[in-house]
């Protein structure tokens, strides 16, 4: 038997987003999940763990994640560690009988993801992976519009996750730039969001018709000291090569006949941190850009030759409105608030004892299978069928 106390493992930026999500959702679930409380902030760096605990109200800190997994009071775990640790820790959490919410990417590759998915399926715990962009109300609304057939059959799409975080050649080397520790580069780190979104909206990808990987900044200095996230820190004089992609593009075929262009870049000067996509169907088109997070654009074919796009703003009829203090006033929904929506669904699944449908380990696996196919297409220069093993 276990308790239902919450632990967040990994006290960086994303750990804080999870902590925020738990904190704001707690009152809604305290009566439905007995013993629910923010118990442990865990990080190998105790200072970071302490900061997380003090800011978001955890009862204690812990530097040893195994101690967290062994703690019988802990029943709910968020895994917010570097990518290479996701599979191992998520599997350990499942084995320990904890409900587990693993940060994206679920794993470094499809093989690891498959192991997690199978373990999760075989276990009674609720397991899930973080695909926060699905819960942006405008994105969720787009899904409903497509599903209702309002833009007709899907013809083609473009999805881009463009980030600037690695554009600075003086940013230190880290695990992110080593294929052995991080897996793919931009493809995995941010491309996984883009792939999940188009699966969410347009269905399964059958084939990668081509892919190109570019390493733009080929080596970086090691840091002189540790930092968190993408922090700038002093550099040492020693360099290490970068051996995974700064930019990855691919052409996708979807099972429904739609074709797609995909781009992930971590050296996209000017783009900050932007997810954008456009989807064209036979009767209309939809666009989203995370710079305008509370909006989507829709064009409906009108025969004028210049069918106009309308800019639709969040309004109370959109998904997730009921979870906000001020439901969709039109202008502003926070990045962290969307994590709150996800954690609401996660706690809901725990409270009602059903699997997580939206951001399941199967979703994590499918994304990994597509990413693997893209990587292989880039490595071999040949088209690659996407595996759907599960």
């Amino acid at each position: 038997m276990k308790g239902n106390a919450i632990a967040v493992i990994g006290a960086g930026m994303i750990g804080a987003a999870h902590a925020f999500g738990y904190r704001t959702n707690l009152p809604r679930f305290e009566k439905r999940i007995s013993g629910l409380r923010l118990a442990t902030a865990c990080d190998g760096n105790d200072t970071l763990a302490g900061r997380l605990a003090a800011t978001w109200g955890f009862e204690k800190t812990e530097t040893d994640l195994n101690a967290v997994l062994a703690d019988p009071e802990i029943g709910i775990v968020s895994v917010c560690l570097p990518n290479a640790l996701h599979a191992e820790v998520t599997l350990a959490a499942i084995a320990a009988g904890k409900h587990v919410l693993c940060e994206k990417p679920l794993a470094l590759n499809a093989e690891e993801a498959l192991r997690i998915h199978r373990a999760a399926t075989a276990s009674p715990v609720v397991s899930a992976t973080v695909f926060n962009y699905r819960r942006i109300p405008a994105v969720a609304a787009i899904r409903d519009i497509i599903a209702a057939g309002e833009i007709g059959d899907l013809v083609n799409l473009l999805v881009q996750y463009e980030s600037e975080y690695a554009a600075d050649p003086n940013l230190p080397h880290s695990w992110r730039y080593e294929r052995s520790r991080a897996g793919a580069g931009a493809l995995l780190d941010i491309g996984t969001h883009a792939i999940d979104i188009v699966r969410f909206l347009c269905g399964e990808v059958s084939e990668v018709a081509g892919a190109i990987a570019t390493v733009s900044i080929r080596e970086r200095f090691l840091p002189a000291a540790d930092g968190i996230g993408h922090d700038k820190v002093a550099l040492s004089t020693e360099k290490r090569p970068v051996d995974n992609d700064d930019v990855m593009s691919a052409l996708l075929r979807f099972e429904n006949g739609c074709q797609g262009m995909f781009l992930a870049s971590r050296v996209a000067v000017g783009m900050g941190n932007t997810l954008s996509f456009s989807i064209t169907g036979t009767k209309g088109a939809l666009r989203y850009n995370s710079r305008l997070p509370a909006h989507y654009e829709i064009a409906r074919f009108d025969g004028s030759g210049q069918s106009p796009f309308a800019l639709v703003t969040n309004n109370p009829a959109l998904p997730y409105a009921e979870l906000l203090p001020v439901p969709h006033d039109g202008v502003a929904i926070g990045y962290a608030e969307v994590f709150g929506f996800m954690i609401h669904e996660f706690l809901e699944a725990i409270a009602d004892n059903h699997p997580m449908h939206n951001g399941s380990t199967l979703d994590g696996l499918r994304a990994a299978q597509i990413l693997d196919a893209i990587q292989l297409a880039a490595d071999t220069g040949a088209p690659v069928r996407v595996s759907h093993a599960d």
Copy 2:
């Protein structure tokens, strides 16, 4: 002696925004303010109070606000009631020795605001008014840019608060549409934000050179039942006149020589809920639009005849980054998160026992004096000097 428990009085949308702000800030202040906790959700409608308490974690509900003010454990009060009650309840809270954060507008007019300001000044409590837009990081950054002289001497500005909430002729009549209960219409309800922002950025207004008020929808049906906020509800067959402004425009003179155009509209079809402004100086210009809440635009004179505007996105160097789980990733900051920044400052002032500088009762008074001058200019058709009595 009093405790430091928190009560939110008024359990509508804005009460929820306050509750969210308190909830997310609590851990940071629990050690600095003894006895700090979310105690009471108060509303005349107990269902609403209960919903607020359950969602954000208040210990109990209360329908009688006087009971709240009499409760010795309560030390911190948010006043989130209809505008006509702000002055009375805020004065009562100050008299009861409670720290008080009053929703905008601080009062229906300058006379009431002056009474509050004087009571607050004479009391040891921390008192403040809600001017949340000041804490939008992009807006705070604009202030720093202007203060540093980067756009030179201010020449002219345009500020508009355009909302669509009353554009629907079938929205029911309410207190908002009666001058006796609400004071001015769009001018007070949303214009107060616009006026506060330009004072915050550009300094004091000396004169209103002209103003025009328009009532666009001259009567509305009474509701058949009660709703919250701007909810649509069934209508009765009985009509009531609307006697305050749907649209108010004014021309402003600032003490520093800048001139300004002001617009507040609650019948602005297409605008949802949008605050926007542009400020031009001798060396540059700045723009903000709440549709792009994490961005501002700046043009610096470059002699080309077409000085370009650059779109600057929130980044970790901007104000308030340290209060966010994920500091300014560029795309999204929530409306409610900004309330969190404000409540952070409010609790900071209580913890450190200093007055609230940013959104003080003086700020509330100054805004009220300008609004009164605009109303008078609209009523008389003549220019009006702005009173600076305090």
Copy 3:
């Protein structure tokens, strides 16, 4: 008896726009107007006149405008001179029996404009003033939409003509900066366009409820040499005061109950040369910005609280399509092409012997009367009724 040869008087930038308009329209009218040809490029500066003639195909040049007016072969005259000469030369052209197209503003003030209008009305010549923005297809489409009642009753509008041409303090002094020679500053030079557009779209202005004029750059160096238009030239060491407005704002009341905010600025850093307006009615709203010259935006009230704006692009159904080589392909319509539309109407009126309805001398007079009222309101600090004498 007179011929139908064309003369352009004034060989600066605007003279070239007229020349372009005549040149591209000539073939369409050669059979309908006997003797139509590009005959004379006239400018006090013969080099400029020669350049205009060589570029656009005039037969000859002339430095004396009286010689042009005395030339019996000349039947059609464009007046593209500095503002202070418009009235005198236009009156002389009418007196000489020439069809005359006078650049905006028709005159320095309403008194002059009235004299021209009366002379024009009493004469059989076709006389017109240049209000080119009326012929932008998107603007003409907006007029049709308003006239059809699609946005309901007009509630309020904002019109701004923001130019950066005088933002450079090192631009030389010229006639534009002297009230005695230029009349008002930004108000007249560019504000006349803005006023004409809102009259075109929304009808007559009854009152100016307030106005503020600002002189931002109070003195300028005289040039060391002559330039054309807004050219940068070497400066002398001698300064002259600027005594007309760099920025003028005003509040307008329209006869139909609509209220309006007006801004004209010639020191608008970042704005280049931008005309923009938004018009809100009880059922919808319309926006135009000359940065997107082939588009307008329309919102139709939809009850969501967030009625979306759609961006409508020029398409073959829009006005003036038939005058373009490639009718409204959606992306690009030239500033000079719009002059072509206007000159097409002017030549049409001459060919068919009817008055010019769109950009008549009455339109020029009405604009002048509103500008005079704005100037008076700014000078006196009191509201001013707009004269409708004609």
Copy 4:
């Protein structure tokens, strides 16, 4: 010996754009090119030829293009016929010793283009192909910025030509939809512009790493009557299959290491007729969208993690300013005016007896070689090296 009279062969929309370009440039070249005049409007449909002649001032019409090529007075020919005729007529014009400006695409495939290029190279005539987008001032400015190294080494780009002209399933069948008559579909018809632009800006393409073609609307009704361009006409009851691409995407490798994503679509609901691209380098990024035809955007890496994009407007320092009546006032440059810039270069080359450098037959050939490689990659599902034979 031949004269220098001008003939436009093909009197549709594009023929009119050429006619406009000749007409507006004529005066500048009349003294430099003896006998230059607008002589013949040629079209198999005499009504169309007559309309073109009457609108733009040709002396006569002709329905037989061989008569035009045999006319000794004609020295300059524009080929504005359907794509399948470009090669044959251009070769015939070269053989007849005429200077020739052929509409894009120069030919249906690289083999034809190579024959034209070789014939042109062997002949003293000036030959060129229409790549009008190169002369958009903002695009030309982008080329200068890249060439100056301002955005560093090129990393990746996205170019899209999205048109809506074929999105209407009730638009009639025509030669455009038959691979035997039109060659590729969107790829050739509009994709050729996109390919030329990225070659112009970023250099040669070495490989197509993958491509996907989609036919979205698989059959269309034959028209009941003829139309021009994309006109809607009455349909017959007989259907014909569409056998070339409605949408074509491809991944490109450039010789300089840059990677690119390419899209051409003629069924892009909402896009009207839009060319857009973004180019990212190690130090900055550039964007262009033909909806904002007088602007480009540039971001320069600034280390903030959110390097801002600035929107730069046409100004007199930009290319081609001297060819406009009103040089780059910031808001509007016409589609047809850009044809005027191209024809200015063409006439300049004729007057000075030098080859056309910008839009040469080599440019036409290179574009055709890339398009062929894209088509082959789509047909075979394998990467394709781009031929550089010439």
